[in-house]
């Protein structure tokens, strides 16, 4: 089944594309470092989101050409970026006033685990090593809508959507939507509610890759994304 899954599941770019479709025109958005940064590439035509980065910049754009980086102009992932018209700089306390104060509309983050009550684990494997939290705990407690993009299962085949997180929490009851490599799932009343799934996977198979019960409220539509 796992091999079959690999042939049908969405690529990271496709997951990012799907998440980008839900960002409205004029929304203020923070993208977690790494994979979530990819969402910015897929803003739908005619909509303009404003991207915030924790290190003190609102309104940044694409990466500069190689060799044209200015290392004072970076994002939270410490990658060089560029400025769009209307951008602004501010210090870290003001930056997190935006985050904690509920001024950002959307945060899109990666996850180790998401529980059916919206708990998120994405900062520590809990196995020793070196912990590093960054701005994740501020984002999940401050941004109006916290969404997760993630593979549906781990590389070892374990579900990432679970009844209860076994890994150290980033935040409690904070996630409201999960975009996975197989489905789009809302979290509502401490339940996973399936909204979209790939046409090529059956309900039973999808449930089997999910660590908690998938509820169905209304229609489940096909999760359709372009080749990227």
């Amino acid at each position: 089944m796992s091999e079959q899954l690999n042939s049908i599941k969405l690529s990271n770019a496709q997951i990012a594309w799907r998440a980008a479709q839900d960002i409205e025109d004029g929304e203020y958005v923070n993208l977690g470092i790494g994979f979530p940064e990819m969402v910015a590439k897929f803003q739908p035509e005619g909509r303009e989101a404003i991207f915030h980065t924790e290190n003190g910049l609102l309104g940044f754009g694409q990466a500069p050409k190689e060799g044209e980086e200015d290392w004072d102009l970076i994002n939270a992932g410490k990658k060089a970026v560029t400025l769009k018209p209307g951008a602004s700089f501010f210090h870290h306390a003001d930056s997190f006033a935006m985050v904690r104060g509920g001024h950002l509309d959307v945060a899109i983050l990666g996850a180790y685990q998401v529980a059916q009550n919206g708990d998120l684990a994405n900062w520590s494997t809990g196995k020793g090593g070196i912990p590093a939290v960054g701005g994740a705990m501020d984002l999940v407690n401050g941004v109006k809508k916290v969404a997760v993009i993630t593979d549906h299962i781990t590389k070892k085949g374990h579900p990432k959507l679970v009844e209860t997180c076994s890994m150290p929490l980033t935040g409690v009851g904070c996630v409201t939507r999960v975009y996975t490599s197989l489905a789009v799932i809302d979290i509502k009343d401490a339940q996973f509610v399936l909204r979209e799934k790939l046409a090529d996977i059956s309900m039973d198979d999808l449930q089997s890759f999910t660590g908690a019960k998938l509820h169905i409220e209304n229609d489940v539509t096909d999760l359709i994304v372009p080749q990227l």
Binding site: D25, G59, G86, S88
Partner: protein, 248 residues
């Protein structure tokens, strides 16, 4: 994205009876006089107002109070050269007053904008202003717990603004304005100049547009001190109430 609105009346039209409204300015400096007058014109009443002061003379906040639109005032210093409007209503028991030390007022508003529900300050410890508030010792010194202040609306004044709501201020007219911009669900700004997107240096923007909902240009704003020296009165006597247009 375009946050520019064409008229003052449109900008304040969402403010309804019973709203909590922060009004920027320190005395007349940085006070959004034309927005306050537009708010008077809406007839909205039973307002809770947050401002450092309580108005002066017969214009701006003083006029809003005199017209009986304010049921509660949260401020640090309700005295001025001519505080008649507030004094009369306060001494008649017609307006509630919450006195907050000035720095605590500023910090409570910032806390509201920054998602900090409470903080501790040495200010007011041992005074009647601290009565009823939790006190805690840190490192051997006593501090008073203060709570955030938030509002339904902030009406503020800036010097220049763009379509995304980025703002810069003018001199000490900055005062409470950038803080109040952060602390309201809906922030309305009057600016002397609307400028092209990109015209404001990203390094010098004081209020990033994320804190702003509406921007309206008032190119030659009136100054409270000057109006009061002239004995001005709002709404103008012998004139019908009319909507105040942008730039008027």
């Amino acid at each position: 994205m375009n946050k520019i609105q064409s008229s003052l009346s449109e900008a304040v039209s969402q403010i309804k009876d019973g709203a909590t409204v922060m009004i920027g300015g320190f005395g007349g400096s940085g006070a959004p006089l034309e927005l306050i007058h537009a708010l008077i014109d809406t007839g909205a009443k039973d307002l809770t107002i947050v401002n450092n002061n309580a108005g002066n003379g017969d214009v701006g906040l003083a006029a809003l109070i005199r017209e009986a639109r304010v049921s509660k005032l949260i401020c640090s210093f309700p005295r001025s050269a001519d505080p008649k409007a507030f004094s009369e209503r306060y001494l008649a028991g017609k307006i509630e007053l919450e006195i907050v030390p000035q720095g605590t007022l500023a910090e409570r508003i910032r806390a509201g904008g920054a998602g900090i529900p409470a903080f501790y300050t040495p200010t007011s410890f041992g005074t009647e202003v601290a009565e009823g508030k939790p006190v805690e010792k840190f490192e051997g010194r006593s501090y008073v717990q203060e709570r955030w202040l938030k509002a339904d609306f902030s009406i503020i004044k800036a010097f220049k603004g763009d379509a995304m709501g980025n703002l810069i201020y003018r001199m000490a007219g900055r005062n409470f304005n950038p803080l109040m911009a952060m602390a309201a669900k809906h922030t309305i700004v009057q600016v002397n100049h609307v400028v092209e997107l990109g015209a404001l240096d990203p390094e010098t923007i004081v209020t990033p547009g994320i804190f702003v909902n509406s921007v309206v240009e008032v190119s030659n704003p009136q100054q409270e001190e000057i109006l009061n020296r002239e004995g001005a009165y709002y709404p103008p006597l012998n004139a019908p109430l009319s909507n105040n247009e942008a730039g008027a």
